[in-house]
Amino acid sequence: MKPAPFAYKKVRTLKEAVTLLAKHKDNARLLAGGQSLIATLNMRLSAPSLLIDINGIKGLDGIAKKGKFVEVGALARHAQLERSDVIARYAPLIALAIPHIGHAAIRNRGSFGGSIAFADPAAELPACLLAMGGEVDIASAKGKRKVKADAFFKGLFETALRPNEIVTAVRVPVADKNTRVGFAELARRHGDYAIVGLAASARTNGKGLADVRLAYFGVGDTPIRVKKAEAALVDDNVDAAVNALDLDPHDDVQATAKVKRHLAGVLLRRVAAQLLEARP
């Protein structure tokens, strides 16, 4: 299908973007990479009256280590992250996840901020952000604020973002020699949305794992942490962690809830092995 008619405005500054958003609110949509938005427009699942194209805003696509955080601008493309030395070195979980996102042509356009703001429950980056305990920088005409990943994802395609707000950057803690990460995903075809996926981060203290954060995707309305399983992994007990999984997925076109629950356990064993593997 073809999109319903809309007006289009390409903005050059963040101020212009938030001013338009403040005026049009829910009737406007921000166009970043467009890899989900334009598909939904084509299918007429969304019919905004105005598209605000933010691709012309300079300085929104940086990737840099800033103190104890890696800061990724909202407009940084997946392909940029894929080729970034900063990401490979300081945010290795993102580096593991990126190849699973769509296909080369999609990764050339899709943006980090767009993926976070859209919050598809089967998408990789929201789960990574949650697993890393990152935070989201948000701007509006009224000012700026930060929201932690744990408080950002609220429901199906629903986030802490208000209609007048825009994601400007995402910040994740810098990985050091004690950081451990793991990632696994099952999909019918490489690059498709996950049937089930798991992003994980932890710290090693020489004896065992600490600060384990396991974020599943594709098994609920949002990326989901499984805190009982996290606690079991701190005790080094992978079997107990698998048994402690308390996910409640719905059947979907790809798999039944029962299959998803089973696969979640399979992925947990794979990811636990990744977390424990490099431990000194």
């Binding site: 999109p3 007006a7 289009y8 467009g34 296909h103 080369a104 999609i106 050339n108 490489h190």
Partner: protein, 163 residues
């Protein structure tokens, strides 16, 4: 406001183009309907099938997931341009020799995506890498084996070094 129709100017296959387009028109529809470049195909219209793959500023994109108005100032290459310049003539010959197409609907996208991989990789890519790079392009006739064969043969013939 009438921001629903905009004037854009861009380069398509090396030629300057200036047109008025509806904001809602996707890049692939613009190429096909306004410029009569019908080599780029429209399949699923939501980014899954890859039939509309074109190059924008040197990078492959989904022609159905970009708006024409977003290409104001950009350089767009379609299969017509890649074909006329001879950039993909070896890929086209290999596809023909190995029967790597049947109905041909996916072929422009396949060739454009394959060329992107061969341009990017310094070494001859493995079959797995070829499959991964073409994973976003659906073929519903032949299966992928002959396509991978053709791309692999060209990669080897080019020695993996050609631009």
């Amino acid at each position: 406001m009438n921001d629903r129709i905009l004037e854009i100017s861009l380069t398509v296959n090396g030629a300057r183009v200036q047109e008025r387009v509806e904001a809602r028109k996707t890049l692939v529809d613009f190429l096909r309907e306004d410029l009569a470049l019908t080599g780029s195909h429209v399949g699923c219209e939501h980014g899954v099938c890859g039939a509309c793959t074109v190059r924008v500023n040197g990078e492959i994109v989904r022609g159905c997931l970009m708006l024409a108005v977003q290409c104001d100032g950009a350089a767009v290459d379609t299969i017509e341009g890649l074909s006329d310049s001879g950039e993909v003539s070896d890929l086209q010959a290999a596809f023909e020799q190995r029967n790597a197409l049947q109905c041909g609907y996916c072929t422009p996208g396949m060739i454009t995506a394959a060329q992107d991989l061969l341009k990017r990789t310094k070494k001859v890519p493995s079959r797995d890498q070829i499959r991964e790079h073409l994973s976003g392009n659906y073929c519903r006739c032949t299966g992928y084996h002959a396509i991978v064969d053709a791309v692999e043969a060209v990669a080897q013939a080019r020695g993996g070094a050609k631009k």
